[in-house]
């Protein structure tokens, strides 16, 4: 990719820009914490505030805080959700009538700001060496400007802030899960968990056959994900324990193997009731009689996609 990148910025630009990005993200999160602390309708004001604020502080100032302090803040951040003390307060969701009226005013042009974030990140990824995170921030800024131009009276600056807090609260503490899992992967690596798994698997499967390694990695992702219901949890353990020692060590392309392993895991997510959010909750939302009604419609597609992806991984290794 790098030969295409005719816009070159200095490392300092990326480093400073990224710090600004994290400060903005941290401030949005801290805003959510303070807003809930002051919100008398929130049944758990303090817990909710501790969660969002400690996350915001790590996010905004992580570049400067000593690692140990960040670690302590992460531990503090985990406590309120564990004790179920993160709740949703007062929301300002738009009424159906309101968004219908806005649609009649704006129409299909609403898709332009919707696309601007991804278009920016794609364009920058292809043509410049600017960090994707900075590109996304530019895209978001442009989308905000466009939305304000469409409807200046309704889309005031604080509306964006309030709407982001509303979505943050809907998503709740679980939106930190990928980041925590990434953290867990790092701790596993530091503690040597990968080496132990590799030793165990190596006793059954001979190392050195990359094709066999790929199949074990892919099928292992599916099974592991089905047990845990979460491909994000599986990918960290499986890459450290199987992907790296059995496949990547023999020169296979980490871009192909690493990425497709995750979507092989998604084939597992499609087949398991453990992935309740995707496969069981919709059954309830749609008043379906068959608890397996969603999974039954996914098994065939998941099986085909697993075979296709293993084929890709072997062909492109």
């Amino acid at each position: 990719m790098s030969n295409l990148k005719f816009i070159q910025v200095s490392d300092a630009f990326n480093a400073n820009g990224l710090n600004i990005v994290w400060i903005i993200v941290g401030l949005i999160t801290i805003y959510a914490g303070i807003k809930n602390l002051l919100d008398e309708e929130n049944p758990s004001r303090v817990g909710t505030a501790i969660f969002w604020c400690s996350f915001g502080v790590v996010c905004a100032f992580g570049s400067w805080l000593p690692a140990k302090v960040s670690g302590v803040l992460v531990i503090i951040m985990c406590l309120p959700p564990i004790f179920k003390k993160v709740k949703v307060g007062k929301t300002n969701a738009p009424t159906k009538e309101f968004s219908r009226a806005q649609y009649e005013k704006i129409g299909m042009k609403i898709f332009i700001p919707a696309f601007s974030v991804a278009v920016f990140s794609l364009a920058f990824a292809f043509f410049a060496n600017i960090s994707s995170m900075i590109a996304i921030t530019f895209g978001v800024a442009l989308a905000i400007v466009i939305l304000m131009l469409y409807s200046a009276k309704e889309n005031k600056p604080q509306v964006f802030l309030q709407d982001s807090e509303r979505f943050l609260s809907i998503m709740g503490p679980l939106c930190m899960l990928p980041q925590l899992l990434g953290c867990l992967g790092g701790v596993f690596t530091a503690a040597g968990v990968g080496d132990v798994i590799a030793d165990l698997v190596g006793k059954i499967v001979p190392k050195g056959n990359v094709t066999v390694g790929i199949i074990i990695f892919a099928v292992g992702m599916v099974l592991f994900t089905m047990i845990m219901g979460n491909a994000f949890a599986a990918i960290t353990v499986m890459t450290v324990g199987i992907g790296a020692p059995f496949v990547l060590e023999y020169g296979a392309n980490p871009v192909v193997i690493g990425m497709l392993a995750l979507t092989c895991g998604y084939c597992g997510t499609l087949c398991t009731p453990m992935a309740a959010n995707f496969n069981i909750v919709p059954v309830a939302i749609l008043n379906m009689k068959d608890r397996w009604g969603v999974i039954k419609n996914q098994v065939v597609v998941a099986a085909i996609m697993l075979v296709v992806q293993i084929g890709f991984m072997i062909a492109l290794k």
């Binding site: 919707a114 990434g182 009604g293």
Partner: protein
């Protein structure tokens, strides 16, 4: 005894399988691995802090949330419903596929329409029911149950396989940081590129499968006749 280091992995597997609180599981696994892996309290805190800060990229979704809610407020969902309505000769199966294509395409741009609760139940299912009626049939309960299943399945399949196309999505970033901790440096855009053919194949497979399935179901529930004169 090296095997004791796997205690954290066991906690993750058993914890998720028992459906304990996800954050509690990871919290316990972090602390247990730190102890049995010999990191010590300070070492563990330092590793957690370093890795959490290194994984900050995954919090970029918060930046995007600045516009997500306001886009919805300004009629994004209504616009999506209008697009799907334009499908010609709509049958339930075709509507499910149209939704899949729209969902996949916009998923790659990290734009959602509200999922099962926000879009499928209030918008897509009434449209599908209307389509069955328009073709001259009275929708049976079994057929509607299948349409619900297919719609949810389409939602999951397209969302899973297309969200990884977004540069800056959490899936790609998790893979990037996991590989980085093992010493392999990869770029997000290259990771996303690998998934383009996979995502397209997933969409085609799902569409073909659901179109065939709905055709078969229509035959099964309403007899072989189709069209306006097919009323029994």
């Amino acid at each position: 005894m090296e095997l004791i280091k796997l205690l954290g992995v066991v906690i993750v597997i058993v914890g998720f399988a028992l459906k304990l609180d996800s954050i509690l599981i990871i919290f316990l696994a972090l602390i247990t691995t730190g102890i049995v892996g010999g990191l010590g309290v300070e070492g563990l805190l330092e590793t957690i802090g370093t890795n959490f800060v290194a994984n900050r990229s995954m919090a970029i979704f918060i930046m995007i949330l600045l516009v997500t809610g306001t886009l919805e407020r300004n009629g994004l969902r209504e616009a999506a419903a209008d697009l799907i309505k334009k499908v010609k000769g709509a049958t339930a199966g075709k509507l499910v596929c149209a939704y899949g294509i729209l969902r996949g395409f916009f998923g790659a741009f990290n734009v959602g329409f509200g999922g099962v609760a926000g879009f499928i139940r209030p918008v897509l299912l009434p449209m599908a029911e209307g389509a069955v009626k328009n073709s001259g049939h009275e929708p049976t309960e079994e057929h509607m149950e299948d349409i619900k299943g297919m719609s949810s399945a389409m939602e999951n399949i397209t969302w899973f396989f297309f969200q990884v196309l977004f540069v800056g999505g959490s899936g790609g970033i998790l893979v990037q940081t996991t590989l980085a901790s093992l010493g392999y440096e990869v770029e997000l855009i290259d990771l996303a590129m690998q998934e383009i053919p996979v995502a397209l194949i997933a969409l085609v497979v799902a569409c073909v499968y659901f179109l065939m399935k709905d055709k078969k179901l229509t035959k099964k529930y309403y007899g072989s006749s189709t069209g306006k004169n097919g009323r029994k």
